[in-house]
């Protein structure tokens, strides 16, 4: 236990860095992913094709490879940021196709009949979208989106392998200082991850039950 108490500030720093990676790249991925999803469900064929290729390629590339690209290949191309920014960029791009898929499946999950019925009773495009389609789509999209964010939380650990001092890298550092207390240190780090992931999961589950659209 001593090792944890001694290194409390480091734990806190690592935790805050993990949170920062999660919040910023999560927000970035939500924006980027929504744009890609919009392209994917738009009537314009060129956008659909581009979005499909983008999703398929990024989704099948390991995050490690993407972060490697950011950390070691981009500098050759004269793109120079610090490692934290690179990690934020890499995580944003890696997460965006998963966001896009969640959003797309939610919007497509609204039965056509709903929009048809809305139009049949004389609602115009804006009313159809705002009062009928979007409310249902958003309800179905949020729980899977939270799942994506949970996965992102776990993925931030990969940034720790690329010189970003977040929780995973912190655990390595502290273990090097206090090799005699490996297990308590690792468990401490594990708990800090669970502090983020478990409540998010509970929230997603509760939300899913609460806003479920019954059909």
């Amino acid at each position: 236990m001593d090792a944890i108490i001694e290194n409390l500030p480091r734990f806190v720093d690592g935790f805050l860095m993990t949170l920062r990676l999660l919040v910023i790249s999560g927000a970035g991925a939500l924006v980027l992913g929504t744009i890609v999803a919009a392209m994917r469900i738009s009537p314009v064929a060129a956008f659909r094709g581009f979005a499909t290729v983008y999703t398929e390629l990024l989704r099948n590339t390991p995050l490690t490879l993407i972060l490697f690209f950011c950390a070691f290949v981009l500098p050759i191309l004269d793109v120079d940021f610090d490692y934290v920014t690179f990690a934020l960029i890499g995580l944003t791009f890696y997460t965006s196709p998963f966001v896009a898929e969640a959003v797309r499946s939610g919007v497509n999950g609204v039965p056509v009949g709903q929009a048809e019925a809305a139009r049949a009773i004389g609602l115009d495009f804006r009313q159809t979208l705002g009062a009928v389609v979007l409310p249902q789509a958003i309800r179905m999209v949020i729980p899977p989106l939270i799942n994506v964010l949970i996965a992102l939380t776990k993925n931030t650990s990969v940034a720790g392998g690329f010189a970003v001092v977040e929780l995973f890298a912190t655990s390595r550092q502290i273990v090097q200082l206090r090799g005699d207390e490996v297990i308590p240190i690792m468990l401490g780090i594990a708990v800090l991850y669970l502090v983020i992931t478990v409540p998010l999961g509970q929230f997603a589950g509760a939300l899913e039950r609460k806003v479920a659209v019954l059909r």
Binding site: A46, T64, D78, V112, V158
Partner: protein, 332 residues
């Protein structure tokens, strides 16, 4: 083309959409071309030394080198596949065990199983690997394998459990009625069906597992990424880094896309005809449990998903399980 958001387009809308399509396509192409031109331009270092552009032949001649392919494919890819194969078998075994424990009737077995599964699912794989490496000093290979087995085993376990829960109750009852023990019922009646129903999800998870082997490079295992990028650049020179990146990327994409395609094929052949609503719910449970991690949205399940028809790209099939889409389509 039917979608929630717009009507079947008429001639005018189709013309407009074609116009936007061409313009949009041109914009996208122009963006890509700009990147290519930027990459191709030679650049001058701080020291005034000019290095050739990224598409200069001197950066790509390495592709003709046999030694490179031997290094990347024979050593790198092999090491990656080896780890993935061993970990996949382990994860399947652990998954079966965990799903058994999770559905046990005794609370003494069930509750610890729930805790273990929850714990493993909420952990980064990388941390599990590092933990194994440090605590059990197994060496990077086994640390990687064990980390992958623990994480993916928990998720496959949940998938199997959802599969078992989705079976009609009569399956188990009739097994017991003809005099099988509960264990026999489970193994000869319930598991085969659950496994078959969840096969696409399990394969999707195996794709994730294959991708995650690259995490082992962080704890020092020599796999595709490590050998293909770090080692190869020290052997062949760092000016090839850019080229090598694309080679490694291509190898990963080839393997992963092949597996994803296989999962979709299997999904179409096994799950589509049967199951219906119950399977959908089971798939959703897994996804919702945070299951398949990122792959949650990648479940290649083809329950009569409407969007499958709406998007001729053939990739509509993979949206079935997430967010409970597709549900409702055919069901009253």
């Amino acid at each position: 083309m039917t979608s929630v958001l717009y009507d079947v387009p008429g001639p005018k809308a189709r013309r407009r959409s074609l116009l936007i399509s061409i313009l949009g396509g041109l914009v996208i192409l122009a963006g890509l071309a700009a990147i290519v031109v930027m990459l191709a331009a030679p650049r001058v270092n701080a020291g005034g030394v000019e290095t050739p552009g990224m598409f200069d032949p001197s950066r790509w001649d390495i592709l003709a080198d046999r030694a490179l392919w031997r290094t990347i494919l024979q050593r790198g890819l092999l090491a990656t596949l080896q780890m993935a194969a061993v970990a996949a078998v382990g994860a399947l075994v652990l998954g079966v065990l965990l799903s058994m424990a999770r559905t046990a009737r005794t609370a003494f077995i069930r509750i610890p199983a729930i805790i273990v599964i929850e714990f493993l699912r909420g952990m980064p794989v990388l941390l599990l690997m590092l933990f194994t490496l440090l605590v059990f000093s197994t060496g990077a290979y086994w640390a990687g394998v064990i980390g992958l087995v623990l994480y993916n085993g928990a998720i496959i376990g949940e998938a199997l459990r959802a599969g078992i829960n989705s079976l009609p109750r009569g399956q188990r009852e009739s097994g017991l009625a003809i005099g099988l023990t509960p264990l026999q019922t489970r193994f000869s009646i319930e598991f085969p069906q659950a496994f078959r129903q969840m096969l696409p999800i399990i394969i999707a998870q195996l794709v994730v597992l294959l991708k995650d082997t690259s995490l082992a490079s962080i704890i020092g295992y020599q796999e595709l990424l490590n050998i293909g990028l770090r080692q190869a650049t020290t052997t062949f020179g760092s000016r090839y880094l850019f080229t090598l990146f694309f080679v490694v990327l291509a190898v990963y994409l080839a393997v992963n896309l092949l597996l994803s395609w296989l999962a979709r094929l299997l999904a179409r052949r096994t799950a589509s005809g049967r199951g219906g609503r119950r399977t959908k719910q089971a798939a959703r449970v897994v996804q919702q449990l945070g299951g398949a991690g990122m792959a949650g949205t990648q479940l290649p399940v083809t329950f009569d998903d409407r969007s499958g028809g709406a998007f001729p790209s053939g990739s509509g099939s993979d949206s079935g399980a997430s967010g409970g889409s597709g549900d409702g389509g055919g069901n009253p």
